[in-house]
Symmetry: C2
Subunit: 142 residues, 2 copies
């Protein structure tokens, strides 16, 4: 939980540059750095994903770890404002998707951590995704 | 293993249309259909990802399930030709990445299967990724 709070605090301190595509590259880099900070604790990540899978069958726990997680709810509600600061006309669904995508990529990197040749390019995939989103006015107060 | 062979056989039967972006949308649709066919067997997917996580610590088994998997090696070697047929100047790394990304998205959908509001858009994410790849001559004999 502390990880996600730290991530949003770090992003809030970054000043988006004026170049529209440069801003997206800035944001993709920050998101990739966040994934790297998670991947620096591989045992924690293995445990987290293994637990999530094990608990999928146990409904009450499963919800706490996914849909109804206070952590996820908080990050999903903050993510659209984050995207808007970087020039994306973000809907709540866009905010949710960038968080889900980042988690999916972190899973892939966790699963293939011991295989240097199977390292998915988190920054590249995130940047392609960000570039596909609608652009909009950059708001200063997000 | 049968899943992946069927996927490549299905793709081989599809005639890429002439419109360059239309072809990419065709391919994204086929990849999303493949993910859907995996997601139609949620218990198998849960077991697969749980096993992969559990075995991460056990080196010989882990390699068989990821880096050294005969299944993965085969799909990674076939994927670049698949991308080339749809107009992408694909390198081996591009082929590997599209397979890893598809698996990562399938994991996300498996993890959040019971939460209708947490369904990552596999087709949309894959299409953004495909559009970011370099285009090249469409080869007929791939």
């Amino acid at each position: 939980m502390a990880d996600l709070h730290r991530f949003f605090d770090n992003v809030a301190r970054i000043e988006p540059i004026s170049d529209p595509d440069g801003r997206l590259r800035q944001l993709a880099r920050v998101i990739a750095d966040f994934a790297d900070s998670l991947l620096a604790r591989p045992a924690d990540m293995r445990a987290r994903y293994a637990l999530a899978m094990d608990f999928l069958e146990a409904d009450p726990l499963s919800d706490l770890l996914s849909a109804q997680s206070p952590l996820l709810a908080d990050s999903f509600s903050r993510a659209p404002d984050l995207l808007r600061r970087f020039g994306i006309a973000a809907t709540p669904a866009h905010g949710r998707d960038i968080m889900l995508l980042t988690d999916a990529l972190t899973f892939s990197r966790t699963l293939h951590a011991s295989s240097p040749q199977l390292q998915l390019d988190v920054e590249g995939v995130v940047l392609s995704h960000l570039r596909s989103l609608p652009t909009g006015a950059v708001s200063d107060d997000a």
